[in-house]
């Protein structure tokens, strides 16, 4: 049996039910099958597909990625083919694998979110909908919604009204009080909290005196954001009992454990896919060994362990 299928790794909290806690973060694993030679979709508890919008989007002008300070800044800007081609072309090819599918949905208006949800609900082809209100790389909507509890409440409520598919909310770290956003979402029917998206960031070439990214600003991710992400997971755990998907800078099974101890129920890997494409398998293996060594028999015992020492 592959580690990824070890029953001890099952996640079963509220609406979050996964065979293992490792998720591919949206935008960093395409549509799940591109890298199957080296990173098989079935290594994952779930795969979050690249963010989609109602209409096709060109995305931002390149360069779209730059490596700085031990991490990367990206400004992809939600390039995608739109919802109409999504189910047929992106979801279907992944359906035959034993992994859950998460659609990451985006909008420049609240109605965009509702519209996409309608479409996804019609054919019920995805297992989860992740409402992305935290993309720093689009001019309208995106993170502007995620910073505003009222907008979050409105969008979550509207999406909830359209579907019974379990709903995740993807949060931006760039807020004053993440608890406020979480409560606004929870009051309106969100099922799962997913955090963090990238930090707004800029890098400038001092010789050309131009920003390194075509779009000036991008989103910072990778190992450097981990300690801040752990803090936000801790804060999220303090704000809600909902299942939490923790991410931001995970590059090893040790990092995954740290997120779990801080309060995450599952974790997602983003940037590190580019460095070690087989990271999901490695994390699952590491988690199994950790559970052996530390005599944990369920993942739930690890989730929030440290948080509970100081909060119960």
């Amino acid at each position: 049996m592959h580690f990824s299928d070890d029953p001890r790794l099952r996640v079963d909290k509220g609406k979050l039910r996964l065979k293992n806690p490792v998720i591919s973060a949206s935008g960093t694993f395409g549509y799940g099958i591109e890298m199957q030679d080296i990173a098989h979709p079935e290594y994952y508890g779930a795969i979050a597909l690249k963010g989609i919008t109602v209409k096709p989007r060109a995305g931002n002008p390149p360069p779209r990625i730059v490596e700085v300070s031990g991490g990367i800044i990206n400004s992809v800007g939600l390039q995608n083919d739109g919802i109409y081609r999504f189910v047929e072309e992106k979801v279907m090819p992944l359906k035959r694998y034993r992994t859950a599918i998460i659609a990451n949905i985006n909008g420049t208006t609240a109605d965009d979110y509702f519209f996409i949800t309608d479409k996804l609900n019609e054919n019920a082809s995805v297992d989860y909908i992740e409402i992305n209100v935290s993309c720093p790389n689009v001019k309208e909507g995106g993170v502007a919604f995620g910073k505003n509890p009222k907008a979050v409440a409105h969008i979550v409520k509207g999406v909830r009204a359209k579907t019974n598919i379990p709903l995740m909310l993807k949060l931006t770290p760039q807020v004053t009080d993440i608890g406020e956003i979480i409560r606004a979402a929870q009051d309106n029917g969100i099922d799962i909290i997913s955090l963090i998206n990238t930090y707004p960031a800029i890098a400038i070439d001092i010789n050309t005196r131009k920003p390194l990214l075509g779009n000036i600003r991008g989103g910072f991710s990778g190992p450097p954001v981990k300690p801040m992400a752990i803090n936000l997971v801790w804060e999220a755990r303090s704000a809600t009992d909902l299942p939490i998907i923790g991410m931001g800078g995970i590059s090893s099974w040790q990092d995954a454990v740290e997120f779990l101890l801080a309060g995450a129920d599952a974790i997602a890997v983003g940037t590190w896919h580019f460095v070690e494409p087989d990271i999901a398998a490695k994390i699952n293996e590491g988690l199994c060994n950790y559970m052996d060594k530390e005599q944990f028999s369920t993942l739930a015992e690890i989730s929030g362990y440290t948080w509970r020492q100081y909060n119960e």
């Binding site: 395409g30 390149p62 779209r64 190992p223 580019f274």
Partner: protein, 267 residues
């Protein structure tokens, strides 16, 4: 596509910060075609660095690179017997001579890499092969004998005239065609700095010569999942296709596929 910890068979310092490394990776060696690249993990640098496959020898592949920044400098310091973590072969758009009768190859600097591989791989093909290889000076024109062997005509061009013609490789190409005008079945293949590529493409398109170009861009994954490496596309069918991924639709593309105006503004 495979991720492998490859043992380094040899490291050759070619001078002027250029290096040639051979690494053992049977699967990649077996499937490599001209244009393919690998993505190499370079020490503590985060993102892997893309490098064209330069040659294949049995179960080893060769790479030819210049130590530019942190990543390639780390690579340059490797020694035979050490291991490197490679992803490859990557790329789907490859150099493809099809039924071309005469292939004109234009290389600038390390842009020689995929073209060298093309020459070696297609040594026995029917097409006539003419190479224009430009570099700063005589010290940075490498593999001269092999290149002369593998081509029908071979022109070296240096900026200071210390070897071959003096000037820029695109000027030399233009001069050549003034004498021997374009023919049916001509095909240009090119790889090099963007300033050069720009000239080559305009020339090829103005003369109606099909032109395959191997481009570079900042890459995240190298495997099509991150949408970082994109190039502006000519005549996209819809907005989602305004940019194409260089890593999976390239790195070699028909020049017609590129929105030249946007691309050259960008670089």
């Amino acid at each position: 596509m495979q991720q492998i910890t490859a043992s380094i068979a040899s490291v050759r310092e070619l001078g002027s910060a250029y290096f040639f490394i051979e690494a053992c990776c049977p699967h990649i060696a077996k499937h490599a075609r001209p244009g393919h690249f690998i993505n190499v993990r370079c020490g503590s640098v985060l993102l892997r660095r893309p490098l064209a496959i330069f040659s294949v020898d049995g179960s080893s592949i060769g790479i030819f690179f210049k130590a530019q920044g942190k990543g390639t400098s780390w690579l340059a310091q490797r020694r035979a017997g050490e291991e490197i973590d490679i992803l490859g072969p990557l790329g789907k758009g490859l150099f493809d001579e099809n039924n071309a009768k005469r292939v004109i190859l234009v290389a600038g600097g390390v842009g020689l890499a995929p073209l060298y591989f093309y020459l070696k791989y297609n040594f026995h093909s029917g097409a006539k092969k003419i190479l224009f290889y430009g570099a700063r000076n005589a010290n940075t024109i490498f593999f001269q004998n092999e290149l002369i062997d593998m081509t029908d005509e071979c022109f070296f061009v240096t900026e200071d005239g210390s070897l071959g013609e003096k000037g820029l490789v695109n000027e030399e190409l233009r001069r050549y065609f003034l004498t021997y005008s374009p023919q049916d079945g001509d095909l240009i293949m090119t790889c090099g700095p963007n300033a050069m590529i720009k000239e080559i493409i305009s020339f090829a398109e103005s003369e109606n010569i099909p032109c395959q170009v191997s481009l570079e861009s900042y890459m995240g994954c190298g495997c099509g999942v991150c949408l970082s490496c994109v190039i502006p596309a000519e005549n996209p069918e819809q907005a989602g296709e305004s940019y194409f991924r260089l890593c999976t639709e390239g790195p070699v593309v028909d020049s017609k596929k590129i929105d030249k105006q946007k691309f050259f503004n960008m670089v």
